[in-house]
Symmetry: none
Subunit: 255 residues, 2 copies
DNA sequence: ACCGTTGCACGTTTGTGCACGTTTACGTAC
DNA sequence: GTACGTAAACGTGCACAAACGTGCAACGGT
């Protein structure tokens, strides 16, 4: 996206690597256009990166070296940032607690980072999240059933809500579609809202983890608001206004 | 799901390999349409892959090679055999059906091999089975909730059983711990038995897939028998006595 | 003046689609 | 069951375009 006027060679290679990790592949012609350099320079970059074992050079561009199937392109997206946010959120979790973990790529990252032997009980509606902790020492996993929504990667709907209401948790990590400065957490449709509301109400505290692109001044699309957030974990370069609002509302903000 | 407009040659070959591992076969004409290239290019790709020993070239497309690249460590166990069994079992499945798929590595292989666009509804208690089909075209996935057993890789227990009883399926694939010549399917503990019995009773027909090590003359450990099998899919080099017993019991035997 | 980076020109390699003749699979008639 | 006809799939050769590597000259900065 960003195409600064002056890009250092080494910096450009770094950016190429990031794009590579995000998309699983890069195309030489596209990169040349994006960085305003000739394809020759891009080819030199890719050759250097390949020599370091950081990518696989192929005709027309380059592919990821460690090729884990590019299953969800969303999952590779911004992983670094999500890991940093999750690390911050980890400090809010105490040993022996029961956690509601909603579907979502950020929450999957969080689940993978949960420490072993902390006697946590993870309750989730996402097979992703369940697999991330299943079988590791010191974990109980409870799966909420229901029809899975491919767009969400987890179960939502009345069945799932009913099962969620049978459980009491200490902490709740709802997936976040958008957060605005006025009315809190937002989701894309009614079903999601009902589910998130249910797990929030069944939990002692609620931690919303948001990447900066989730923060909007006011929600533009048709969405449904959710209240009840007690902790907000956001990236450092976030919209200061939104964060200030949350501070004013008594929500603890972690960065 | 649609392939992007710009697909690098080598990337395409890799995607073909992934499809191959998932479906067990690929058809040249389909690939050409999917990747927007001529069939000539696809044929060249398949020829290259076959030259590397990664697939077996056949008239109209390609099949899985006899040897499998080491993809998963623990799941790679006997994968070739499981894939062959699953391929046989696939022929019992009709379009539009509702399937109960129990936890288990063989069933996970089966799930991955289910063909796209066959309008199947997959009901499962195993997160990895759910992930194997979630998001693919022509699939509905219903997850059964409950506490996950790490040894099994899925949910069992009264909660799960209750949810299973709310559903009617055409076909049922219970995981198999042991099969003996006297009393049919066996499991390791009571909870599992109750669950498998429930999904068998909720289904029209039941398909038991068994590797030869599951076939025993008589169960030695503490197990609980299950009845209701209608189809038995077994490896070719199996214990003839057990299979004969099943034939005598009116079960259709597929090899 | 040193070094790294860049863009251009050249010849080479790789991938692609089309045309042609051949082989394979399958249904039909005998 | 065998023979035969057709259509699809196949391999090969060829032409063209895109991507590639290399050498070389120009530029800019510690």
């Amino acid at each position: 996206m960003n195409a600064p006027d002056t890009t250092l060679p080494r910096e450009r290679q770094q950016l190429i690597l990031e794009r590579l990790q995000r998309d699983g592949k890069v195309i030489a012609a596209d990169l040349a256009q994006e960085f305003r350099v000739s394809e020759d320079s891009i080819r030199r970059d890719l050759r250097d990166l390949a020599a370091q074992g950081l990518c696989r050079r192929v005709y027309g561009g380059a592919l990821l070296a460690v090729n884990i199937p590019p299953l969800g392109e969303r999952h590779a997206e911004r992983t670094e940032l999500k890991r940093a946010l999750a690390r911050t959120a980890l400090e809010l979790i105490g040993a022996g607690q029961i956690l509601f973990i909603d579907a979502g790529s950020t929450n999957t990252v969080l689940a993978k980072m949960l420490p072993d032997h902390s006697d946590l009980t993870v309750v989730t509606n996402a097979p992703d999240v369940a697999l991330a902790v299943l079988g590791r020492p010191g974990f109980d996993v409870i799966m909420l059933g229901g029809k899975l929504d491919p767009a969400i990667g987890g179960a939502i709907g009345s069945r799932t809500v009913r099962q969620a209401q049978d459980i009491r948790a200490d902490l709740c990590f709802p997936g976040v579609c958008a957060i605005d400065s006025q009315r809190g957490l937002w989701t894309y449709d009614e079903e999601e809202t009902v589910f998130k509301q249910a797990i929030i109400e069944a939990s002692g505290e609620t931690v919303a983890i948001a990447t900066p692109d989730k923060l909007v001044a006011s929600a533009t699309h048709h969405t449904v608001p959710i209240s009840g957030i007690s902790h907000l974990v956001v990236a450092a370069d976030t919209d200061a206004v939104v964060v200030a609002r949350y501070r004013a509302a008594g929500v603890t903000v972690h960065m």
